[in-house]
């Protein structure tokens, strides 16, 4: 076991735990944001640099601070380690830089993007971004491509997290897409037009933190915050059959894996459950799904948020009164 302190809060965690995992165990506001890390994917993380933190004390044994900011998702804790996330101005400044880098070539087409409302980049930008961009050059553009009958690839929106590539590598038996070219010309593609035919390929949509991979059976059907998520299951030979249904009225608009509070799939689901079972009668409904992610998506469903909003309004009214 190792004791680690993050922004002043301590926790004992098993050896081998990363700083990010430890921060998530502590919970609260000091959990670093992460875009390319995914708890169910091996070797994920380390690329986007949004989760960087400052290690102000290496360990009890070797208390020297680490010379550079480190990606919390790929750095394991040491006994006695002290970490600064929100308490370090240096970290916040560097993170603002990362967010700016991620956004300079992003089309900011949220109004027409299906991911809006459950987009990690939106949340990240909202919490750590600047209101105005300093980038005044044309943004990178790619053509949209179909990868397989049910998945739309919108490379322009991609932030190069590699989670879809790792998903294809780790849960399907034949990866046909990957990272091509290099530098800022890199793209996720199949190179020559190739359909991704695989029972589990749809999970790539779920792991995509932005709107680069979207479900063609759901495209432009509804904004996600107008749909109601329900936990449901069915007897499936290929996967556990445990899914989240996104309904509007009595219509199932889309099926996804169940995601944890960090927006990461709890279990992989098969394409049959995802794309072919859109009839409410296909499913045993368990009840409303509690969306724990702090994002627009939770607004419509979520008693706590409404309660919080009420308090906020009361607070603001009081402030106005006090000011006067």
């Amino acid at each position: 076991m190792a004791k680690v302190t993050i922004d002043g809060e301590s926790i004992e965690v098993p050896d081998g735990t990363t700083i990010l995992q430890a921060a998530r165990m502590i919970g609260g506001d000091n959990v670093p944001p992460a875009m390319c890390y995914h708890s169910k994917l091996k070797t994920s993380g380390g690329y986007c640099r949004t989760c960087i933190v400052k290690v102000s004390k290496g360990s009890d044994k070797d208390p020297r601070p680490m010379p550079k900011l480190v990606p919390s998702c790929r750095t394991t804790v040491m006994d006695g380690m002290e970490v600064q996330n929100n308490t370090s101005p240096e970290v916040l400044e560097a993170r603002r830089g990362v967010v700016e880098f991620l956004l300079i070539n992003h089309p900011l087409d949220c109004p027409v993007c299906d991911q809006a409302g459950e987009c990690h980049l939106q949340d990240l930008g909202y919490e750590n971004g600047a209101a105005k961009t300093r980038y005044d050059f044309p943004r990178r553009k790619f053509n949209m491509i179909d990868i397989g009958p049910n998945i739309k690839m919108h490379m322009t929106r991609c932030i190069m997290c590699f989670r879809c590539v790792k998903t294809a590598d780790q849960i399907t038996d034949n990866r046909v897409h990957g990272m091509l070219f290099r530098g800022d010309a890199s793209e996720i593609s199949t190179y020559i037009e190739k359909a991704i035919v695989n029972d589990f390929s749809g999970n790539m949509i779920d792991v995509c933190p932005v709107g680069a991979l979207t479900d063609k059976t759901f495209r432009f059907k509804s904004r996600v915050w107008f749909t109601k998520p329900m936990d449901a299951h069915r007897d499936c030979k290929k996967c556990s059959g445990k899914v989240a249904l996104w309904e509007k009225g009595n219509e199932v608009l889309r099926v996804t894996s169940r995601k944890d509070k960090w927006g990461e799939s709890e279990e992989w689901i098969c394409n049959e459950c995802r794309f072919d079972k859109k009839d409410i009668k296909d499913w045993v409904i368990e009840g409303p799904r509690h969306i724990d992610r702090h994002s627009v998506i939770s607004l419509n469903h979520y008693e706590n948020v409404v309660a919080k909003l009420k308090i906020d309004i009361a607070k603001q009214q009081k402030q106005i009164v006090d000011k006067k």
Binding site: G45, G46, Y47, C48, R49, I52, K68, L69, P71, R74, E93, A94, G97, V98, E100, F101, L102, I104, N105, R134, Y135, F137, I159, M160, M179, F181, R182, G183, D184, A185, S186
Partner: protein, 443 residues
């Protein structure tokens, strides 16, 4: 003439061939090491020698070697980094082309010290013809019993092969090099683990620069203490310097560390002064990644002491007034050079070579190039200099591998020392063709 270790026999006719190389004392270190020394003793001698990695980082070689994990029954590898791609650097090509056996000899001796059964030279693809020269030398060594089974009748067996790259600066970063050697994209790995624990095929691996390994035979023959006496302070031994730019005698020079920069630039033994009798404006002393320094700061430190060709002296003053020895890629610019345009060629280079894995480098290098491009084209905007400064600051230290830093430092140093020139470009785009007046702007 200073002491020569690597280039001592460079002008001997036929030194490329094994016979002539041996007649000049070549392969004696293999004989001595394999027959009379224990591997650990060699590692100790290399530690004592103070030899530091010649690829650019300057990490003590003996210490790197002692970090190598040695689990039972697991292969260990020595990989020679011949992916020489740092702009301004061409010493390894010269060495491998002119005297290939010195590298092969160093590899056999070093592999014996490390317990590696196989070693490899990873050479940049553009040096294809050099790979032919190395392969011919390796073949000669096999035929002479210096490679293969039971070398010189001892129990030590060793194989060497040459692997060519295919055009990617990033493969000079040791973990990107290993990825490339495994037949993948040259994407640097996230560390830890370091190659000493999990390198090639997940096995413990030492990656060393060509010049580093070529220095080992001398250390084995003469002892680490002898090597440590050459040079100055912690900059022991000799260093190959690739000299280029506006000088009379571009080329590769072996210097004993500690000579003055002034002597190196102006003496007939080395660069022979500035081309066409012009004045010196600036120098990039250690390959494109290191900070550029204006003439006064490269010749003398901030304290007014003569700047020496050594790790310590070149970095005296930190980044505020100093630079780094780096790979020894010494690029000289005369008074007519546009520092901004030169920086643009560097920025274009790093943008071209960024692998694209991590966001600050992927996005930041391209952004900096675009801004510099508009500045040199006469379309710079007010505030561009500050914007460049801020972008480089947000790349530095925040990337997976040192390419981000390498892209940031030239930008930072050019702005630090030549800010007025940037402003001149932005405020007076009509004058950008006349570089001569820029010399008075050195701040």
């Amino acid at each position: 003439m200073g002491k020569k270790i690597l280039l001592e026999h460079i002008n001997v006719p036929g030194i490329k061939s094994l016979d002539v190389y041996r007649q000049n004392g070549g392969y004696a270190s293999v004989e001595k090491a394999l027959k009379t020394m224990a591997p650990d003793v060699i590692v100790e001698e290399v530690k004592k020698s103070g030899l530091r990695g010649r690829g650019g980082a300057g990490f003590p070689t003996g210490m790197k070697w002692s970090f190598l994990a040695k689990p039972e029954g697991v292969e260990r590898y020595l990989v020679v980094n011949a992916d020489e791609s740092e702009p301004g650097t061409f010493k390894d090509r010269y060495l491998m082309e002119k005297i290939p056996h010195i590298l092969i000899e160093g590899m056999i001796t070093s592999s014996f010290a490390l317990g590696a059964k196989t070693s490899c030279i990873y050479i940049r693809g553009e040096y294809f013809y050099v790979s032919r020269i190395l392969e011919a030398a390796i073949e000669e060594a096999y035929a002479a019993g210096l490679l293969g089974k039971n070398i010189l009748g001892t129990n030590f067996s060793h194989d060497i092969f040459v692997q060519v790259g295919a055009g990617a600066y990033i493969c000079g970063e040791e973990t990107a090099l290993l990825e490339s050697l495994e037949g993948k994209r040259g994407n640097p790995r996230i560390k830890p683990p370091f190659p000493a624990v999990a390198g090639l095929y997940g096995c413990p691996t030492v990656v060393n620069n060509v010049e580093t390994i070529a220095s080992v035979p001398y250390i084995v023959m003469n002892g680490g203490d002898d090597y440590a006496k050459i040079g100055i302070g912690r900059s022991t031994g000799t260093k190959l310097i690739s000299a280029s730019g506006h000088i009379n005698k571009p080329g590769v020079y072996e210097i004993e560390m500690g000579i003055t920069v002034e002597d190196f630039i102006y003496s007939e033994e080395y660069c022979g002064g500035i081309l066409n009798g012009k004045k010196l404006k600036a120098v990039v002393a250690g390959g494109s990644s290191v900070p550029i320094l204006p003439a006064d700061l490269i010749l003398k430190t901030e304290k007014g002491e003569p700047r020496l060709m050594s790790y310590e002296s070149l970095s005296d003053g930190g980044f505020a007034t100093g630079t780094m020895l780096g790979s020894g890629g010494f690029m000289v610019y005369d008074e007519t050079t546009s520092i901004v345009k030169n920086l643009y060629t560097f920025a274009r280079f790093y943008h071209h070579e960024s692998c694209g894995q991590c966001s600050p480098c992927r996005e930041g290098t391209g952004w900096m190039e675009k801004i510099l491009h508009r500045i040199v084209e006469g379309h710079g905007k007010h505030g561009d200099t500050d914007l460049l400064w801020d972008i480089q600051r947000k790349i530095e230290g925040n990337t997976i591998c040192p390419l981000g830093d390498a892209a940031a430092w030239p930008v930072a140093s050019a702005i630090r020392h030549f800010r007025a020139e940037f402003e001149e470009y932005i405020n007076h785009p009509e004058r950008i063709k006349e570089f001569k007046h820029l010399q008075e702007l050195v701040s």
